[in-house]
């Protein structure tokens, strides 16, 4: 279990987390979402150890040993690497630090990235593939992926997801993904965590969330239901409600199931409208 207790963090005077708590069981695949600037990337960086909390603890599963970073595969939206090194030098450096003889460079070979090219000469998608290939080769127990999947093309995105699925099938890897584009990963997600103002606004298994968030098309706001956001139209408006109660006495309405993208958009839309 990855356990975060009473986490406090701020950038200078700007507070991001004050007393944040979260438990993630081993092997769970979680989506971390929320409006831009809510602290998704910050949370991933705190878990990865590249940021240090002012207060609070992050306890890693015992199976990760005394140095958890050895078992964490972290890729941030910054795609931070030594840009003056070549691809081959970067891989050698990575292997040296992690004690690997070599890495499985299937993804890199697929994209035909030349080993002699400097990292700064690579496109964003190529850097993403290089970084993803390196972290997957670590056989990590905890994967932290921050909003990078959308920067690679559709074919490589599919290849990466296949590698990820194979990794999940092979071992109980815990995955925490911060993403704004869910279409490709929806089938993988088990749990959705929506952040708001440094706290958890929603934390539900995905199937439960799909049952609880509905779009109601009605001439007037549905009574007795909490409206997250709405889209007004001349005759009938769309109301996104949470939680939707099955036995609500609603008449002359249409209740529509939503996919994950629409669910998260409903929550985020409500925040922007507030």
């Amino acid at each position: 279990m990855l356990s975060i207790r009473d986490l406090h963090f701020s950038y200078g005077k700007r507070s991001v987390y004050t007393g944040f708590n979260l438990d993630i069981p081993a092997g769970q695949i979680c989506l971390l979402t929320g409006i831009n600037g809510v602290g998704k990337s910050t949370l991933l960086r705190l878990i990865a150890g590249v940021l240090r909390p002012k207060k609070g603890t992050i306890v890693y599963p015992e199976t990760m040993g005394g140095e958890p970073r050895r078992k964490i595969g972290f890729i941030s939206d910054q795609l931070s690497l030594y840009e003056s090194l070549t691809v081959d030098q970067t891989i050698r450096f990575h292997c040296d630090v992690f004690g690997l003889d070599r890495i499985d460079d299937r993804l890199i070979r697929l994209t035909k990235i030349e080993g002699g090219r400097r990292v700064k000469e690579l496109s964003t998608g190529q850097r993403t593939i290089l970084h993803l290939n390196m972290i997957l080769s670590l056989d990590p127990e905890l994967l932290l992926i921050d909003e990078v999947i959308h920067s690679i093309d559709a074919y490589l995105r599919r290849v990466f997801l296949e590698e990820l699925i194979a990794l999940i099938a092979r071992k109980r890897v815990t995955v925490l993904m911060a993403n704004l584009n869910f279409h490709d990963i929806e089938a993988l997600i088990e749990r959705v965590i929506l952040l708001k103002s440094g706290t958890i606004a929603v934390d539900e298994p995905i199937e439960t969330l799909k049952k609880k968030v509905k779009k109601i098309i009605a001439p007037a706001p549905p009574a007795g239901l909490t409206i997250l956001s709405q889209r007004p139209f001349p005759d009938r408006s769309e109301y996104y409600v949470y939680p939707y109660l099955e036995n609500s006495a609603l008449r002359d309405v249409e209740v529509v199931d939503l996919d994950l993208t629409e669910i998260v958009a409903a929550f985020i839309g409500g925040e922007y409208a507030a």
Partner: protein
């Protein structure tokens, strides 16, 4: 990681060795303009010594330049290597090259091993290293080192004078007291600030992590500057060096 740091250190050395172009330039300048009668064997040791001193400062100031320039700080911190081991991996190759350079020069020049100059080179390196995380530009870092060294030099005399005036020491020429006091007042806080920043180094803008410098190093430095402005003149007068 060590291999990369050795490569970085050698790159810094190569950048400093550009100074050796001063040898033929100096020879040509002497032949064409000033006519001091310099020979190559006169110019080479001076330029090489300057190169070694420059390397001591430059390699210290550029301790974290690859992480800053390559935007790799976050990647470096994500690696399963402690912050102290990162610093060690950076310092050891640079110090080894510095000591090797000075030793090689001492042997080739037939001057013998001068411990005092070696200690001075190490001293310059550590001053520069203590500024490395706080300063982005190598040029400003070099100026910072010279400023700190100048402050150290002036404050060692000033503090000796103040202690002598207070009756704490018997001689106004107690050099060891001056160096120790200046070391404690200037270099100590800068070194402490550096170690505190490194211990808590994070992947966020470095300007948000410089609090130890503002709270430890800067006040101490300002106190020293005040003491120099107030008492250095009196020290010069007391030692007969004024006027």
């Amino acid at each position: 990681m060590l291999r990369k740091e050795v490569r970085d250190a050698l790159r810094r050395l190569a950048e400093c060795l550009i100074l050796l172009v001063a040898v033929p330039l100096g020879y040509i300048w002497d032949r064409a303009i000033v006519h001091y009668g310099w020979r190559f064997v006169d110019i080479v040791p001076a330029v090489f010594t300057a190169t070694i001193f420059l390397f001591a400062v430059y390699s210290g100031v550029s301790l974290f330049s690859s992480e800053k320039k390559d935007r790799a700080l976050e990647y470096m911190l994500s690696l399963p290597v402690s912050r102290s081991k990162i610093v060690l991996a950076k310092v050891v190759p640079r110090l080894s090259i510095l000591v090797g350079l000075w030793g090689g020069f001492a042997i080739l020049a037939g001057k013998g091993w001068n411990w005092i100059i070696l200690v001075f080179l190490l001293f310059l390196f550590f001053i520069a290293a203590s500024l490395s995380i706080a300063i982005d530009s190598a040029v400003i870092g070099l100026l910072g080192v010279f400023l700190l060294f100048g402050a150290f030099d002036l404050s060692s005399s000033t503090l000796t004078f103040v202690a002598w005036k207070l009756g704490l020491i018997s001689s106004i020429h107690n050099v060891w007291f001056g160096w120790t006091a200046a070391g404690v007042l200037i270099l100590g806080p800068f070194a402490a600030a550096f170690l505190l920043v490194i211990r808590n180094l994070q992947a966020m803008p470095l300007r948000l992590q410089m609090r130890p410098y503002y709270r430890l190093a800067l006040p101490s430095f300002l106190v020293v500057i005040f003491l120099i402005l107030k008492f250095f003149g009196a020290y010069l007068a007391a030692t007969g060096r004024l006027g």
